[in-house]
């Protein structure tokens, strides 16, 4: 499917979609969105790129193996769960800093949990799709 329209469009869509994924990730705690959806959108961006330019190009552009995201994301999520235990609250309690950061909003353990999920979802989805479509795209 090497259409010139898709090729041109995907070049502009990729950064837009990635930005949108981060936006969805950050608004996730009190509004619809979150790490899982954001991760799916981000991986869809790469899949669209693979559709337009071929798998080899996408892998070259990524510069890292997508499965490397999985342990990093898992570790971030797990640590965000451990943090409340260090101050004597149950595992995975939501602990928020009192300061508000511009753009991001409140910072707390759920945010880091979501970031972990975001990375894991990108890693797993891309690994699955690249494995299945190997030799097709």
């Amino acid at each position: 499917m090497k259409s010139i329209i898709l090729k041109t469009a995907s070049t502009y869509l990729l950064p837009l979609l990635l930005l949108f994924a981060v936006f969805i990730l950050l608004r996730g705690h009190y509004n619809p969105g979150g790490g899982f959806v954001g991760g799916l959108i981000a991986s869809i961006a790469f899949v669209l790129h693979a559709f337009a330019h071929g798998l080899v190009e996408t892998k070259k552009m990524l510069r890292f193996v997508p499965s490397a995201c999985i342990p990093v994301g898992l570790a971030i999520s797990l640590i965000s769960g451990f943090v409340p235990m260090a101050i004597g609250r149950p595992f995975m309690s939501g602990e928020w800093l009192s300061v508000q950061v511009p753009i991001i909003g409140s910072i707390g353990t759920p945010l880091f949990f979501d970031i972990g999920v975001f990375l894991v979802v990108i890693g797993i989805t891309l690994t699955i799709l690249f494995t299945i479509s190997d030799g097709i795209l």
Partner: protein, 510 residues
């Protein structure tokens, strides 16, 4: 009471699994981390058991969301015991795997997946929320799928398809049952469900949900009409993997069955009769299957099916003594079945084949190893004073008291067939003269270095010592299973520990 550190056995394995992924290519590091990690988790499990034994029910409200709205983790004596057994099995299998699993498989992520499997098992034993139990079950099955098919040999993937399909079907049944349960009661917390189920007016739908749970868990624990996937898949993966599967995966189904049927659905006469009949048929079909098999691992797979019947029968009888017997049998079965598959792996290493007809003369060559294996085999049969004997007393006595003669006959027949099968196996593998084959496969055990032999034999010795302990100190295990049966039959302390001391109405007694 609340305990912040309740989840440590789960989180420990999770941390180890993540650490293992980070050293994906370094085999030696992975082996060291895995064994050391399992030791650590064993210590945590012992600590948790100790605490549960002395302080009663421990609970943890994950994320500090109070029950019944949040996800609850509960450790009663039953959970803590299962965690302890899992930790012992995990340590044994992890040690055995350092030599027993090929480098190739380790490079494809054997150790991380093994730890994810243990995460799922530990989580399932601690879950106090029915949907959370479902999630842990999915963690278990996805890891077991990978372990089952890792290596991608033809028989493996073919056995894998049967395993995957039946387990996915079981998950759908489980999910359907959860959906009905949620529709009926509007709750998922097991303690809360226990209270609300008695107020449900639509008894018919409640029974359907109960039996759907039975089918779902029944597929996973391989009871009578639903066991076909087990003997056609369990002999395909490497022995270390088969040991975890044989020792723990079917038992987690039984665990969930006991949990659900003592806490949420209290079995009526009809359900109990269904359990008893299915238990009898499971005992008989498993035993008959074991009779005709010559491959050691297929034979043991049928014995797994057969001995699930004892556990289900005890649940069907549903008396204090019968449940105590079931728990005792469960404790014995986890240790012995794991060990069985480990020694099968040893025999396979020595002889290069699983077929009992082509083996022989092992006692001549390895007398000390053979004695070890004999203890395992005779514990399985239940020759007194070894561990398999004691729980059967309870089960036999209660089936007589309940007039479940067919169950009694099935249990006795199954015991005899097990004895016969093991005696034949003993004769074939250990006493018979080795058959003179033109191309007998080389003995790959004798050539191993001292350290590697140590890693292969130590787990077997450890588990043998455990089964000897269970056999010779049966009194202590009896106290334990008695206490567990007591807790199972009186869920009020469980409910109180989750929902607070005022949750159980004073009039409600079961």
């Amino acid at each position: 009471m609340t305990d912040q550190y309740l989840l440590l056995p789960v989180l420990g394995h999770l941390t180890i699994a993540i650490a293992l992924i980070f050293c994906w290519r370094r085999i030696l590091v992975q082996q060291i981390i895995s064994v050391a990690g399992n030791l650590l988790v064993l210590i945590m499990s012992i600590a948790l058991f100790h605490k549960t034994w002395h302080q009663g029910h421990l609970t943890l409200q994950a994320g500090n969301w109070q029950a019944p709205f949040g996800i609850t983790f509960v450790s009663d004596t039953f959970s803590a015991t299962m965690l302890l057994l899992t930790a012992f099995t995990g340590l044994a299998v992890s040690m055995y795997s350092t030599v027993g699993i090929s480098k190739n498989r380790i490079q494809y992520g054997y150790f991380p997946i093994l730890h994810f499997l243990l995460v799922g098992l530990n989580g399932a034993f601690l879950a106090g929320d029915i949907f959370n139990l479902y999630v842990w079950f999915e963690v278990i099955i996805i890891s077991s799928f990978v372990l089952m098919t890792l290596g991608g040999k033809k028989p493996q993937v073919e056995g894998g398809i049967k395993y995957v399909t039946l387990n996915l079907l079981a998950s759908v049944m489980f999910l359907t049952a959860i959906a009905i349960l949620y529709g009926l009661t509007g709750s998922l917390n097991m303690a809360d469900l226990s209270l609300k189920m008695s107020g449900v007016s639509n008894r018919g739908l409640a029974d359907i949900a109960g039996l759907l749970f039975f089918i779902g868990f029944g597929i996973k624990s391989a009871v009578f009409p639903l066991y076909f996937w087990l003997p056609s898949s369990y002999h395909t993966p490497p022995s270390a993997v088969a040991a975890v599967f044989g020792g723990l995966l079917t038992k987690v189904g039984i665990y969930a069955l006991i949990r659900v049927y003592t806490l949420i659905f209290i079995p009526d006469d009809f359900t109990r009769t269904v359990f008893l009949i299915i238990a009898s048929l499971t005992l008989l079909t498993g035993a008959l299957g074991a009779l005709i098999k010559e491959n050691m691992r297929t034979l043991f797979s049928y014995l797994i099916v057969c001995h699930i019947g004892y556990l289900l029968g005890g649940l069907g009888l549903y008396t204090h003594l019968a449940l105590a017997g079931t728990i005792f049998y469960l404790v014995h079965d986890v240790i012995v079945k794991t060990n069985l598959f480990l020694i099968t792996g040893l025999v396979n290493k020595i002889r290069g084949t699983m077929n009992t007809e082509q083996q022989g003369g092992l006692y001549d060559q390895y007398p000390r190893l053979s004695i070890l294996m004999a203890i395992v085999l005779f514990s399985l049969v239940g020759i007194p004073p070894l561990s398999g004997f004691w729980p059967k007393i309870n089960l036999f006595r209660e089936s007589m008291a309940y007039h479940a003669w067919y169950l009694l006959v099935a249990m006795i027949l199954a015991s005899f067939v097990t004895l016969f099968v093991i005696a034949r196996l003993w004769g074939n593998v250990f006493w018979k003269k080795a058959p003179a084959l033109e191309s007998s496969p080389p003995d790959s055990f004798a050539g191993l270095s001292k350290g590697r032999k140590f890693m292969l034999v130590t787990p077997v010795v450890m588990l043998v010592l455990l089964s000897l302990y269970i056999g010779f100190f049966a009194e202590r295990i009896n106290v334990l299973s008695d206490r567990i049966a007591h807790e199972l039959l009186d869920p009020a302390p469980y409910i109180k520990s989750v929902l607070g001391p005022d949750a159980v109405p004073a009039t409600q007694t079961r």
